[in-house]
Amino acid sequence: MDRSLKLLSFSAAMNVIASPLKPADVVPRPSGASVVEARGLGLTFKTNDGPVQALTDVNLSIGKGEFVSFIGPSGCGKTTFLRVIADLERPTAGTIHVNGMTPEQAREARAYGYVFQAAALYPWRTIEHNVALPLEIMGIGKAEREERIKRTLALVNLSGFEKKFPWQLSGGMQQRASIARALAFDADLLLMDEPFGALDEIVRDHLNEQLLQLWARTNKTICFVTHSIPEAVYLSTRIVVMSPRPGRVTDVIESTLPHERPLDIRETPEFLAIAHRVREGLRAGHSYD
């Protein structure tokens, strides 16, 4: 019954993006409605070697328009947390709401775009058809599909590679294509699991800048997993530091950096101070084992 409704709200969202771009600093950043709301969240995997506590007692509220980074050593549950938000894993304790709905309802409502740790492009589809995949599934018409493919591929600097197959591109280009795919259907929430992990510094800088611009002008909420402290500090409004065994949140750091962030903000004392705090948080987590 709500299919048409879904499409309606969809095209409304599209209008926002299609309207002339406003400068980043004028966009208001409302913080009232929370997009992700986790209370006492826990997830224990049952494995053959006994239970693995991937997440314990996670309390987190992510407001609309926030850019939240998750950082922490390997195995601390960053991926698991994103997967719980995405309804790819079921929590075993506590509650979680996405846009006020259960994760399942949110997924059914196509509330988020997910960028996996690997590109996961379908090798039998060209780049443009890979980007078209979610659009086809969501029943978006051909003309609009083409328009969006063109726009999102341009956004990740892949114009001209539409007709290539994924295996004809470098790993970094594949990852950019997968980002384009997640952007194509313009969900308000982006879940990104180490999307730039495999890329070289320069490309990474460039994509960080572009991601920030995209976030600034679209008012998307972004959950971003990374292993890089500078990347986390540069991008985020808030940094969630996690630690393993059992996986939990050990620190949440509010960024005091302005919304307008040129790349060389990374040399300012303010930036370095935040980076230092993140590093301290990570150390504290490590000293547990």
Binding site: Y114, A120, I137, W167
Partner: protein
């Protein structure tokens, strides 16, 4: 003059020298020498020396550093010319060949071998020449299998009912085109095609259902393994009794044989897509059919084509063997079983040749389709 050594021409020359120590190529020529007044037709009267000269000239010229194409051409002319004279010379004197006949045959074969290896080392620039070469080398190989078969069977006088020479098979094939066509029509176009399409289609459909409903998979797979282990020799007569002599019973045998390879392969293929790829579909809230069509079936295609190829062979065997157990008086299996009884071994071979040709064409067509559909698979795009 600079030389370029290769072992085949050198060996060919050695064989020719060895052959020159024998007085005669056939027993007929020996008789004629012993009894010069008799007016029998002497095999290789005159051509014996010509064959040796031709082969020796080819071998020596190929050792000279000539352009590769010229060398290949010379070798081909010498080897095929000598083979032609050997085979046509022995006709009428089958079974009387002596050592030099076989030595010269071996020498011409070595020259052809050298020609093939020269040709396969050529790397022409134009694409059409490359395609031609890719076809030429296997064609050479096939031609020499036939030449050796023909010359050895005739030279050594192998009894016709043991192994007829390919020329006799060829003649029989040409002279019985209407019969062969009727057999192909009955066996291939009725039994095989119907059974293959139905067996593969049913196997595929059952696999999709079994994938959707776990209890079906748990029930079908063990039964499938059991049925596919049943010997066709046991299944065929039962189905012939059940469904009558005409093509329907043969198609049923083919269905039984092709159903389970397709079922098992498709089920395996449907789970071939990665976790991340499937999670991706889940994040789009894609429904079952969308995921099936856009992810799992494309990912299953290499498996499905595998089954199609296995089944193309099984279907042909199944239909032919099933005809042994009763059929109207037409069909490839029927023809083979009756002509064996009548000692018409050349007709049996003609049917075998037709079956091989049809089978290869079918398989080749499938392989081409596979390349077109699974172009993205590492095993295809790599090579």
């Amino acid at each position: 003059m600079r030389l370029r050594f290769a072992w085949q021409p050198v060996l060919a020359l050695a064989l020719l020298i060895l052959a020159s120590f024998f007085p005669s190529m056939t027993m007929g020529a020996l008789d004629a020498e012993a009894n010069p007044t008799a007016t029998v037709q002497v095999p290789f009267d005159g051509t014996s020396t010509l064959i040796s000269l031709l082969l020796a000239a080819g071998a020596i010229l190929s050792l000279v550093r000539l352009p590769k194409t010229a060398e290949a051409l010379i070798l081909l002319v010498a080897s095929f010319g000598a083979a032609w004279m050997l085979v046509s010379g022995i006709s009428g004197a089958e079974g009387s060949a002596l050592a030099p006949f076989f030595l010269k045959l071996a020498a011409s074969w070595f020259l052809a071998w050298r020609a093939a290896s020269v040709l396969s080392n050529l790397s022409p620039i134009s694409a059409s020449a490359r395609t031609l070469l890719r076809l030429l080398v296997p064609a050479l190989f096939g031609a020499w299998v036939l030449i050796l078969w023909e010359a050895i069977v005739r030279g050594a006088g192998v009894p016709f009912i043991l192994l007829p020479p390919p020329s006799a098979i060829g003649l029989r094939l040409v002279s019985s085109v209407p019969t062969l066509w009727a057999d192909v029509n009955q066996t291939i176009f009725k039994s095989v095609i119907a059974g293959y399409v139905a067996g593969c289609g049913l196997g595929f459909g059952a696999a999709v259902l079994a994938d959707r409903y776990g209890f079906l998979r748990r029930g079908l797979l063990p039964i499938g393994n059991m049925v596919s282990a049943l010997p066709i020799i046991g299944v065929a007569p039962i189905l012939v009794n059940l469904l009558g002599f005409d093509w329907q019973s043969k198609a049923a045998v083919v269905i039984v044989m092709t159903f389970f390879p397709m079922l098992v392969n498709t089920i395996a293929g449907l789970s071939a897509s990665g976790h991340m790829e499937r999670d991706l579909m889940r994040t789009y809230a894609s429904n079952y059919w969308q995921t099936l069509l856009k992810l799992r079936l494309p990912a299953a295609m290499p498996f499905i084509f595998n089954a199609l190829k296995i089944n193309s062979t099984l279907a042909l065997i199944g239909a032919i063997v099933a005809e042994f157990f009763g059929t109207p008086v037409v069909g490839m299996g029927f023809r083979i079983s009756t002509e064996v009884g009548r000692m018409n071994i050349d007709m049996v071979w003609a049917e075998i040749a037709v079956a091989a040709l049809v089978g290869s064409l079918f398989y080749g067509g499938l392989a081409l389709a596979e390349r077109a559909v699974t172009f993205w698979h590492p095993s295809v795009r790599g090579g």
